[in-house]
């Protein structure tokens, strides 16, 4: 709800995403900040931002699949692996330029997602969670046993390149990832305002009612799988060409659950939630990395066990606490905060 005094005089104004001069100011300021970020950021912050962007693209895909269309996926980490391997094979073995390999990675991942999404035509809820859980294990098995993927040794691939320009420093990769993330956010934002987005939401809320209203449920479920996995494939491609090596161990079940957790923490079904959730989860990751040595000093008896244990414990606890106390996530908390500030000092 826009605050009092903001009103629309025509349809275009009503549909506008950025509505007030203040919002325009913030948007331009933030875009400038992000654009010039590499000129003052250190190596650490640049890599952090790159990983955050990849994480955000991933959660955007899951947002379309889970938040908009209501189809769960426990295999998103492995789907990301499909994108990463596709892109790596296309550039390293077939010599296809990166700019072609990037969308191809997305499309191939989307098609693989369709294969595993196909049972969603017949089953839903828990059963679908199981199919995608199976996808996670089967795909990782395939990565480990195909000759073209290099088996358990993984494979290497070149840096991303646009024409003669090779993106081999964090600053250059930052530009690329940020640009792609921007495009993806724009696409997601507009998807939910179109016919397709409304159809997906109808399928999520009540698929029987949607079918009665003339929404082709099978088509839109599969479409949601395709788009969700397409995003993840793009993220995987960026990941592969940033690290220049792809390995089956980079795509465990652990990450799949982490992406789901990011959606929960941010708030299911909102774009704001998908983005903040990803940033918060990634932030937790950094906090854990910083806190681990201090904790190891504090509890010397646990010593070496702390490093592998603290990540799952913190993430598990965060997701559980959010599910119990704030099931609608940070987005809802933020909206409540905004309205309470707007209405202060009177509650109504």
């Amino acid at each position: 709800m826009p605050p009092c005094g903001v009103y629309s005089r025509n349809y275009a104004e009503d549909m506008a995403i950025v509505r007030t001069p203040f919002q325009w100011g913030i948007l331009i300021f933030l875009l400038l900040l992000l654009a010039f970020f590499p000129s003052f950021a250190t190596y650490y912050w640049l890599t952090l931002m790159i990983f955050m962007c990849i994480f955000v693209i991933n959660t955007l895909g899951l947002h379309i699949l889970l938040g908009c269309a209501g189809q769960i996926s426990l295999g998103h980490s492995a789907f990301m692996g499909v994108g990463a391997y596709t892109s790596a094979i296309l550039t390293a073995k077939a010599g296809i330029p990166f700019l072609v390999a990037l969308p191809l990675a997305g499309i191939v991942t989307g098609l693989v997602g369709l294969i595993f999404g196909f049972p969603s035509v017949r089953v839903k809820g828990f059963y679908l969670a199981l199919v995608t859980l199976g996808a996670q294990f089967i795909l990782v098995y395939v990565f480990e046993h195909l000759e073209i993927t290099g088996g358990t040794n993984g494979m290497t691939c070149p840096f991303a390149s646009i024409g003669p320009l090779v993106l081999d420093t964090p600053a250059k990769i930052y530009w690329l990832t940020m640009a792609v993330t921007g495009v993806m956010i724009f696409f997601t934002l507009n998807l939910s305002r179109t016919r397709v987005g409304r159809a997906l939401i109808a399928v999520r809320d009540n698929d029987l009612a949607a079918e009665v209203l003339g929404v082709d449920v099978v088509y839109y479920k599969l479409l949601a799988f395709f788009i969700g996995c397409f995003f993840t494939g793009i993220a995987g491609s960026l990941w592969a060409h940033y690290l220049t090596s792809v390995h089956p161990d980079q795509f465990p079940l652990y990450n799949s659950i982490l992406y789901l957790g990011a959606i929960i923490v941010g708030g299911i079904g909102t774009l704001f939630g998908a983005i903040t959730g990803a940033i918060v989860m990634r932030g937790f990751d950094e906090a854990i990395r910083i806190a681990t040595p201090a904790l190891a000093d504090l509890f010397p008896t646990l010593g070496a066990n702390i490093a592998p244990a603290i990540g799952p414990m913190v993430y598990g606890l965060v997701i559980m606490v959010f599910l119990i106390f704030e099931p609608r996530g940070l987005h809802h908390a933020w909206e409540r905060l905004k309205s309470s500030i707007r209405l202060w000092p009177f509650a109504y």
Binding site: L66, G70, I72, L74, F116, F118, P119, V121, R122, V123, K124, G125, F126, Y127, A129, L130, V131, L133, G134, F137, I138, V140, Y141, E144, H145, D207, L208, E211, V217, Y254, I257, L260, G261, I264, I268, L302, A304, N305, I306, P308, A309, I310, G311, P312, M313, V314, Y315, G316, L317, I319, M320, L323, I324, P327
Partner: protein
């Protein structure tokens, strides 16, 4: 042929363990409609408690097993109270993610306490092997198989036939009707989680006996989920049959398919079978055929 019988015996032993743990999963699902994805961690923690008691604290084995089983039950109780009960009435996706987060947390806690080093129980089962149809079958494997089957059959019989489990079956049928008839549904929910914790600890004991205790146990435990699905979600005989089927097919697959594809098929085969079942027979072998329009 002797290879076949060898694989079959090993598969039945592992399948028996899957069957017992699958029972815990099915009981929870029947009574509360909650899917416990943390089942692998229950198994792992139960196995490690027994390991701690017998090896680290040098308690006699029966005492260690008893403490492990009680610990497993207590774990089930805690999880039900702290994680599942606040989620009553939430959408199914939230509950799935809740048990996944729970499995994360328990996994981390297990690593924190026991570390990631593999360990094993002191040998308490007779060594040596039987000769069955030209194949040698370890006595310990035989013992585990019989043990799991006895426990599985006992629990299955209790919940399907015994008089004391009537309220439980009523709660599984319909929460509101059961509540109206004077069944305390919440108490039953707690009870099935405790039972699940106990059977998971037993499964952990047997699995730990066969292949040692380490942090790969949760991944083994998660294979119970395909087993439950193959058997049919609501069915107790189905859980036992599904566990045995998955165990046997997994071992046969590792014996006959691995040489063709270069190893490692046992991590994926259970899920491949599950997906085939989901496409052609989503209600499993013994499950209720629900008509669900999509």
């Amino acid at each position: 042929m002797s290879t076949f019988f060898h694989l079959l015996a090993n598969g039945l032993a592992v399948g028996g363990i899957y069957a017992v743990v699958a029972l815990g999963f099915t009981l929870i699902f029947k009574a509360t409609k909650v899917f416990n994805f943390a089942v692998g961690e229950f198994l792992c923690i139960g196995a490690f408690i027994i390991y701690s008691c017998t090896v680290q604290f040098r308690l006699p084995l029966p005492v260690g097993i008893l403490i492990g089983i009680l610990g497993g039950g207590f774990l089930g109780f805690l999880c039900e109270r702290l994680c599942v009960r606040p989620m009553i009435g939430q959408p199914i996706l939230s509950i799935i993610i809740m048990t996944l987060a729970l499995s994360f947390f328990l996994n981390g806690a297990a690593i924190l306490v026991w570390g990631s080093m593999p360990a094993s129980y002191p040998a308490y089962l007779p060594k040596g092997s039987f000769e069955v149809a030209g194949a040698s079958v370890g006595k310990d494997i035989m013992f585990c198989f019989v043990g799991t089957l006895v426990i599985g059959a006992a629990i299955g019989f209790y919940f399907e036939r015994a008089k004391g489990s009537i309220p439980m079956r009523a709660a599984a049928e319909d929460h509101q009707v059961a509540q109206a008839a004077g069944v305390r549904v919440k108490k039953i929910s707690t009870l099935v989680w405790i039972v699940a914790g106990v059977v998971c600890a037993v499964g952990g004991l047997f699995l730990g006996t066969i292949r040692g205790v380490d942090m790969y146990l949760p991944e083994f435990g998660l294979k119970v989920v395909p087993a439950v699905l193959v058997g049919g979600l609501e069915s107790i005989p189905g859980a036992i049959a599904g566990g045995l089927i998955i165990g046997v097919l997994e071992k046969l697959g590792s014996g006959y398919i691995n040489p063709l594809v270069g190893g490692g098929i046992e991590t994926a085969i259970a899920y491949i079978i599950m997906i085939i079942f989901l496409i052609f027979r989503p209600y499993g072998l013994f499950g209720l055929k629900k008509i669900e329009r999509i």
